[in-house]
Symmetry: C2
Subunit: 196 residues, 2 copies
Amino acid sequence: MEASTRTRRRRADAERSIAAIVDAAVAAFSRRPDTSMSEIAIAAGVGRVTLYAHFPSREALIEAATQRILAEASASLDAADLERGPAIDALGRLIHTSWSVLAHHGGIVNAEGALAPSTLRHHHGDVLARMDRLIARGQAEGVFRTDLPRDWLVDVCYSLFHAAARAVGEGRLDPAATPDLLEATIRATLERTSRS
Amino acid sequence: MEASTRTRRRRADAERSIAAIVDAAVAAFSRRPDTSMSEIAIAAGVGRVTLYAHFPSREALIEAATQRILAEASASLDAADLERGPAIDALGRLIHTSWSVLAHHGGIVNAEGALAPSTLRHHHGDVLARMDRLIARGQAEGVFRTDLPRDWLVDVCYSLFHAAARAVGEGRLDPAATPDLLEATIRATLERTSRS
């Protein structure tokens, strides 16, 4: 076998291992944020040496799982077609779609505590950019307030989502009631009222 | 010297060391969340052995600094007399008072990333209870909305404060404008409008 063929095979093996590990990590952290590295190695069908070769720390693995879930969120938001119809309706679709991805992976939000807030925010870049465009559209349509910085309104939505996910995780909120609660809260912060 | 006297002196020495360490930690983390344990030992005028004897980990020290700052917040909120006057005015005092404590200790919010969200929330118990009582009073006065669970409204205020502190820390918000911005945002989520 040629050296280049061997290299290619080795790379393909590594890619399969990485994919299996990230799959296992997404599933495991979504159920139980405190899953150990050994449990994930077993679930992925790889040895600890292979696991640590690709993900030198638990944080690195949580980060990869978070990126995978956010890619899933972006794909769902593409399907929700946020450019269509009135901004207020698109906001409802954005909230319900994002929440369903988040709810499906419940526990990851608590595992994410292991990541620096700035790292976590960085990986949310695409989702935050969609939120920003939607708020700008609602402002242009005259339904969202324009007296507060748009960056801040995006921050508010981001932190309300994570607050809701934590409250569900800690048993303070009923998960079934949460999407509507989140929509009511986010609408209250965004909508222009007689006050603004 | 009697054994009991020696024990008492040793305890008094330990208490002085702990107080000096927590003072130094509050000052250091407030300025720079990534301050190392060695830097704090030097600032407190104690050796590393003494530091680690009282605070076995950086997390333990961040937790003690956080508790100290929250005790300061509680004392300031006592002075702000939240039971006085209309709830909406008391809300303004609560926001401006809490923010001034938080702003004074800026960097600690980023250091707090080292604590589990549930630990951090636990230490905010007194502040959250004050917020809860104030929201209940505003609901009784007919100015705050009653269609969302009060626990959730408290969570919303808590996460908006921390979102604002992080946005200031990461340079996305102007610190001088933040208390008014926070008040406008929190009022939007709490106030009863034509919608609710």
